[in-house]
Symmetry: C2
Subunit: 265 residues, 2 copies
C-alpha cells in the first residue's frame, strides 16, 4: 500500500492526526528504565502501549539513538519491529534528516527503509532530486522533505526571495511538481509559523505535512489545524514528543492532543 | 588545536592535500576480509596502513556503516579510534551530512564529535545557523557546510538566483561572514564544477574546501587545483574514495594522487 494511503486509512480508524515523537533521550528516561537491558527500547514499548490508540504515526528522532552508539541503533530497529508486529497500521517515520548523492543516498535508503524498516524518512532538499532518487523511487515508502522548519533562524535561507517568493515555496512547488512521481512525497512544515501553511496549501494541494513545533516548542494548535488541514480534513501529522513521552501519563496527554485537534478539524 | 590549524600543519608534514574516503561498502570489500570479525574495520585498517603517508585527511562516509547496523557503527567508531591512536596528526571527517534543530543537533554533535570522536562533520545549510549552533560553537571541532555539490542536478536549488547571484554563493558568504566565529567552518565544493571554485575564493578567502568528485566521479584535477588552491597553497581537501580504497594497490594510487596535486599546486 502507498504510504499516504496507509496514513489516510489509519486516520479514519483512529480518528487521529497525532504523531508521537519518540525523542527518547537516555538522560531524560525515568529511573525505573535505566537498569533495563536496553532502556530506550523498554521505555518506547511502554510509551507505545500507553499511546497507540491515539496515534496515527510514530516518529523516532534518530539523533537520540545514534548518540548511544550500537545500543541506540538496536533500540531504534527493535522499536520499529515492535510497532510493525503489534500495530502494523500505524505509520513509522525515521526523523533522520538525511540527503546525500548517488550510491551514498542509496545506502541511506536501504539503511532506513530496509534494515531499520521505517515507512518514511525526513530529507534535506539542498542537493536536488537526482541525489534523492534512491528515496523518491521507492513507491512503497515515504519521503518527507524539509520545507519550513520551526527554529527561530529558519528564515536565514528558507525566506530568501527568489522571483518574488520565498525559497521554501520554491521547494514546495518543486517537490509537488517534479519529485512526487510516485505520490510518496510530504513536507515538513513547522507549527511555529501557521500563516505559511495556508500559502503552502495553495501550492501543494492536499499533500500531507509533518508538523513539529506544537507542545514544547509553543506552536499554536488551533491556527495550525485551521490553516493547515487539507480539503479532505486530513493532511497533517501533528507531532508532539517531549510533552507526551515524558509526561506522567503519556496516554492522557496523547488523547487530549488528539481530541483538541479533532475539535478544530 | 583548532581544526584548520591541525589540517594546515598536517599538509606541511605530509606535503599532501589528499583526503582518503573510506566508503567501505561491505559488498565491495575483497573476499579475504569477509570472514573477519568486523570486515569493514579490518579493511579500513589495511587501507590506512597502505595510505597514511600520503593522506592529510580520512573521511568516513557514514551511510556505508549505518546500513550494516550495530556492526557498522562499531567499525566507524573503532576506525576513528585506530586513527587517533596511531596517526593523531591526520584529520578525521564524518561525512554524515547532518543538520537538525536545537536539542537534536546537540545530540548529533555529541554523537559525532564525542562518542565517535571525529574532528569534523559535513552539514546541510538549509535550517540556518541557530540550528547548527551545537556544531558551530565547538571551537575544537570542524563544520563543513554543503555549498556546491557534485551531482548532475546540484543546480536545481543551489543555482537559483537571488539578488543577482546563485544560492550557493549566498551560503558561502553567510558561512564565511556570520557562522565562522570560531574559525572552524569549511565548505563542500565539488570538483565537477571547478569554475565555481574561483568565484568562491573571492567570497571566502582561504577557507578550506572539501572537494569530492575527483576519481570515480570524473572531476578535472588540474582545473580543481588551479582554481581552488588558497593563497597559501593549501585550502583543499581533495577527496578520492573508491578509486583509492578498492584499487589493487591503494598506497600507490594515493601517492600518485598526492603527487599529481602537488604538481599543479
Amino acid at each position: 500500500m502507498n504510504i499516504i494511503e496507509k496514513f489516510n486509512k489509519r486516520i479514519d480508524t483512529a480518528h487521529s492526526l497525532v504523531c508521537v515523537g519518540l525523542d527518547s533521550e537516555l538522560s531524560r528516561i525515568p529511573e525505573k528504565y535505566q537498569q533495563a537491558e536496553n532502556p530506550q527500547l523498554s521505555f518506547n514499548v511502554d510509551v507505545i502501549e500507553a499511546t497507540h490508540d491515539y496515534a496515527s504515526v510514530y516518529k523516532l528522532n534518530s539523533a537520540f539513538y545514534e548518540v548511544q552508539g550500537e545500543k541506540g541503533w538496536q533500540a531504534m530497529r527493535e522499536t520499529v519491529a515492535y510497532l510493525k508486529a503489534n500495530y502494523p497500521d500505524i505509520v513509522t517515520i525515521c526523523d533522520a534528516k538525511r540527503a546525500d548523492i548517488g550510491n551514498t543516498s542509496d545506502a541511506y535508503a536501504r539503511s532506513i527503509y530496509d534494515e531499520l524498516g521505517f515507512d518514511a524518512v525526513t530529507l534535506h532538499p539542498y542537493l536536488g532530486s537526482d541525489a534523492l532518487e534512491p528515496f523518491l523511487s521507492r513507491a512503497d515508502k515515504g519521503c518527507i522533505i524539509l520545507c519550513r522548519t520551526t527554529n527561530p533562524g529558519a528564515g536565514e535561507f528558507q525566506e530568501l526571495v527568489i522571483d518574488g517568493r520565498p525559497f521554501y515555496q520554491h521547494v514546495a512547488a518543486t517537490v509537488c511538481g517534479e519529485w512526487n512521481v510516485n505520490h510518496n512525497c510530504m513536507l515538513v512544515v513547522g507549527a511555529t509559523a501557521p500563516e505559511v501553511m495556508q500559502e503552502l496549501r495553495q501550492i501543494v494541494g492536499d499533500m500531507p505535512f509533518l508538523v513539529p513545533g506544537v507542545g514544547a516548542q509553543g506552536g499554536d494548535l488551533e491556527a495550525t489545524v485551521v490553516n493547515g488541514i487539507s480539503s479532505d480534513g486530513k493532511g497533517l501529522m501533528i507531532s508532539a514528543s517531549r510533552s507526551i513521552i515524558f509526561a506522567d501519563d503519556p496516554g492522557t496527554v496523547a488523547r487530549e492532543l488528539r481530541d483538541a485537534i479533532n475539535q478544530y478539524r
